[in-house]
Symmetry: C2
Subunit: 256 residues, 2 copies
């Protein structure tokens, strides 16, 4: 389930941050959205101390962990995501835009990783320095990269704002994921059964020749997948189409 306790396994890693106000702003946004694990890699020592004045996030800052290298900061993580303002073609890493990236992070936080079904995945989200972003050395620790969809003409965001938007999207996604979790999404098999039954009905109604059956079937499956059916929805449709198909079969039998 997606809830704030999942965020206990997400660390925000600020790498080589220069401006103390940005550390403070990042900490405040973390507190606003329920993320409490701040890791600092190689910060300017004085700036880190100044940042302790961040509104409402003093405790979070006091508990921040400081590391000399990215490698040490993410050693126990199974997913390391680097943020970037750079476009796809300049990168050697897979790039995901924020919405897709946030979904991927949630997926990792919720997948069952151990035999007991308990999830222990630790996730790190890296933010580079104000001036240079993440270095190639930093990027070498990342599984993939995340980009906030800013205008191509002005991609580079303020660090504190970038952190805030990423955490907002993760928190937004968590609510959504929780409601889908609760709603129990239909499986691919459920959707196939609904589509098959409907195709049967169309065939029985005589409105499907063997040529159109394939394309109609594809269209139907595509459409059903796009509708985000829950398992309950699928059951409802199956019931309905089952009754209709049954009736069509009955009607057909005498004439055969």
């Amino acid at each position: 389930m997606s809830n704030s306790s999942d965020f206990d396994r997400v660390r925000v890693v600020l790498v080589a941050t220069r401006n103390p106000l940005n550390i403070g702003a990042a900490a405040r946004a973390m507190s606003n959205f329920g993320f409490f694990r701040l890791y600092l890699v190689n910060p300017f020592e004085p700036s880190f101390l100044e940042a302790r004045s961040a509104v409402g996030a003093a405790e979070l800052l006091a508990n921040a962990k400081v590391f000399a290298t990215v490698g040490e900061a993410v050693a126990d993580c199974s997913l390391v995501v680097g943020t970037t303002a750079v476009g796809r073609r300049e990168l050697r890493h897979p790039l995901k835009f924020l919405e897709e990236g946030a979904r991927a992070i949630h997926k990792r936080l919720h997948s069952r990783t151990s035999s007991t079904g308990e999830n222990k995945s630790e996730v790190a989200i890296l933010f580079g320095s104000e001036k240079f972003g993440l270095s190639n050395e930093d990027l070498s620790h990342c599984n993939w990269l995340l980009r906030i969809p800013t205008r191509d003409e002005h991609r580079s965001m303020n660090l504190g704002q970038a952190v805030a938007i990423c955490l907002y999207e993760l928190a937004r996604n968590a609510k959504r994921a929780a409601s889908v979790d609760k709603a129990n999404p239909a499986t691919a098999g459920d959707i196939d059964r609904v589509a098959d039954l409907l195709l049967d009905a169309l065939q029985l109604a005589g409105s499907l020749d063997s040529r159109s059956a394939v394309t109609t079937g594809q269209k139907l499956r595509r459409l059903m997948r796009r509708h985000n059916l829950t398992a309950e929805d699928a059951k409802f449709w199956l019931g309905m189409f089952g009754q209709i198909t049954y009736k069509l079969r009955q009607g057909k039998r005498p004439s055969e």
Copy 2:
């Protein structure tokens, strides 16, 4: 259509901002997400001048308009939205969380308001001062209020971050709205016709008594609305269910 030119009719209004860095940060986020109209109500004069150094947003700041009162800054707007960190029960205004609010703003930007179908709605989004937020006088100009869904234990956001998140959500929504626009959403009438036809089919299949017809009909409509059908989807379903219903009617006739 939702695209960046819609944002030409959205103004970001900063009211009584104290910290020059926040004006700069707001301007930068505006430029990142394609909003170029910055209005300042009663700013600290010196801070406003300092802010002109905002990274990548110098022109935007140079073009900012300065007003003495909120009334003057929003005089020509048909929708004025105030941002707040305050909970519902303390407010006299309707409150929308950001996702819902962004949708409502888009709706206003796209609704046809003149006889020529051209939309001239001007929209203002107000952000209050760092310390006090929007005053009751400021709020009196607002149609409704917008809240970013932060934790109840730490609601109040940094001003620059709040602006960034609101504009991110509006830009995100614009892309989504554009793809739905392109897809041409089904009308309520379309959905009703699909549901009616399917109910007919169920009735013809003999699996619907008059008691269950009402609740099944309601459930069907609810489900179909949740599926976000496009007009094309509706046509596809209508075609399919039409053929099935036709066949069921044929099958029924002899036995009647």
